[in-house]
Amino acid sequence: MDQKVMDRRRDARDREVEKALYARREKIYPREVHGLFAYLRITAVVVLLGIFYGLPWLDWNGQQSVLLDMPNRKFHLFGLTLWPQDFLYLAFLLIIAAFSLFFFTALAGRLWCGYACPQTVWTEVFLWMEQWVEGDRNKRMKLDREPMSWHKFRIKATKQFLWLTFSAFTGFTFVSYFSPQDELFQRLMSLQLGPWESFWMFFYGLATYGNAGYLREQVCKYMCPYARFQSAMFDKDTLIISYDAKRGEPRGPRKRSANPRELGLGDCIDCTMCVQVCPTGIDIRDGLQYECIGCAACIDICDEVMEKMGYPKGLIRYTTQNAIEGKQTHLIRPRMIVYGLLLLGMMVALGYAVATRNPIGLDVLRDRNSLFREVGAGLIENVYTLKVMNMDDRPHEYRVTAEGLPELQVLTDRPTFTVRSGEVVEVPVRLRVPEDALGSRRADVTFILQSVDAPELQTSEESRFLGPMP
C-alpha cells in the first residue's frame, strides 16, 4: 500500500480514537425488541439460567447431581465421581469446550456472545428488571435526566433491591456448586457461614451486580478476550449480521405511501431503530464493527419496520461476507472440516476414556532395603508395598493375588481389606518362590487386585521378582 494512503488511514484512525476517548461513555438505553431472535435469546436465557440455578437443587442417586466438592477434593457429576487423579478429564473437557467455540464461531460468528455468554445472559435479566421497574427506553432516559425526588428515589431503590437480591441468590448458587447445597443453605439460614464461603458468595454476587448492572457492553468491548480473538476465527463464509447497503442506501425518511424509487431512495427509512435497540450502542449501517456482539436485536427491529412499511424483510440480516459481495457461500470448507474432525475425535476419546475408566488404582513399590531374602526351605522372598486407590463412590473390599511364576505364594497380614471411597491404602505383601522354580536372577510378576464385592472391578500391575544368581 502506498505510504500516503497508510498515513491518511492512520490519521483517520487516530482521530476516531481521540473521539472515542474524550467522549465520556454515554449510558446506553437499549430499547426492548420482539421478534424471532429476541425469542431465541429469551429461550436461551431461561434454559441456561434454569440450568445454572436449578442444578444444585437436583439430586442424583441421593447425591447432589453436580458438586465440585472442593473441601473433600472430589467432583460429583451425575453419578460419576472424579478425583484429583482424574484431572486430565477436566482439562480435556475444557479443550473440547474451547474447540466447540472455535467451531461455532467460524460457522456462525458470535453466536456465543449473542445467546449464551454469561455476560449477555445476566445483562439480559438485569435489563428485564430495569424495564419492569423503570419502564421503556424513553421513560428510563427521562427518569435519569430528572433531579432526585421521592418518586425517582423509590423507583431506583426498587430496582436496586431487585438487582441486589438476585445477585445475592446468584452468589449463593455459585458457591453451592462447590459446597453441598443443603448444608450451605442451612448454614446461611442460621447465619453460620464460614468466612471463605461468605467471601466467594459476596465476590461472585458483586461481580454479577457490577457486570450485568453497570459494566454491560463495556465488558464485551474492553475486557473480553474472546472478542479480540474472534476475528482470527472469522472468514468470508462466516455468518455475520450485516446491513444491506446496496438495498438500503440512500437512506431517508419518506411517507409510507411513497414509492422510494421515485424519490431516489433505498429501503432504509433512517428511523434509527436499529441504533436504539443495540446493546453496544453502535450503528450496524456503518458496517461490521468489533463491538457488535451479534445479538440480532437490530434484525428483529428492522424487520418490524420493513413490515410496517410493506417492504420485504431482511434489510439487516444474517449473511456472509461472500454473499454480500455476490459470491457463493461455502458452508463446508477446510477450516470447518478440520475443526469438526478435531472436535469429534476429542469427544470420542473423552467418551471412551470415561466409559472405560477404572475406578480402582494399583501401584506396586518394591522394598528398597533388600533385594531379596532367603527364608529357608529353599524359598526366596521379595517384599512389596501395594498402594490401592478406590476412586469409586462407595467403599470396596479387595483381595490381591499374583502370578507369573510357578509355585508363587502370596503372603500378607490382610488377605482382604476395605478401602473407603477416595482413600489410598498401603498394603505390605510378600511373595515367595522356591529357588529352583525361579531359574534366573530376575523374573516378572503381575499383581492382580480384585474387588471381592464387585468382581468386575479389577486391575493389574507388573513388578519384578529378584533372586540370587542361579
Binding site: V17, A20, M70, P84, L90, Y222, Y290
Partner: protein, 87 residues
C-alpha cells in the same frame, strides 16, 4: 475495524482493569492445576506457621496469591511499555 489497536491509545483505567481481569483468568487456571496436583492438607507439615485453615481457605489464599502474582506481572508490563510520559 479495531479502533484501539495500539496499547497506548487505551485509557489507563481500562488498561488496569484488563490487566487485572486477564490475570484473574490465568490465576484461576493456575489454581486449578496447582491444587489438582497438591492437596493443601499435605502441605501443612512442610511449611512452618502454615495457617490453620480449611481446604477452601487454602484454595482461596492460593488463588489470591496467584492473582497477586499474575496481576503484578501484567501491571508491570503495561507500565514499562512506556518509558516515560510523552509530552
Amino acid at each position: 475495524m479495531q479502533v484501539f489497536d495500539e496499547v497506548k491509545e487505551i485509557p489507563r483505567a481500562q488498561r488496569i482493569i484488563s490487566a487485572l481481569w486477564i490475570a484473574f483468568f490465568n490465576a484461576a487456571v493456575a489454581t486449578a492445576v496447582f491444587f489438582a496436583l497438591i492437596d493443601p492438607m499435605e502441605l501443612e507439615p512442610c511449611i512452618p506457621h502454615f495457617p490453620q485453615a480449611s481446604r477452601i481457605g487454602a484454595y482461596t489464599i492460593g488463588f489470591l496469591l496467584f492473582w497477586l502474582l499474575t496481576a503484578a506481572t501484567s501491571l508491570f508490563t503495561i507500565t514499562f511499555l512506556y518509558p516515560g510520559k510523552r509530552s
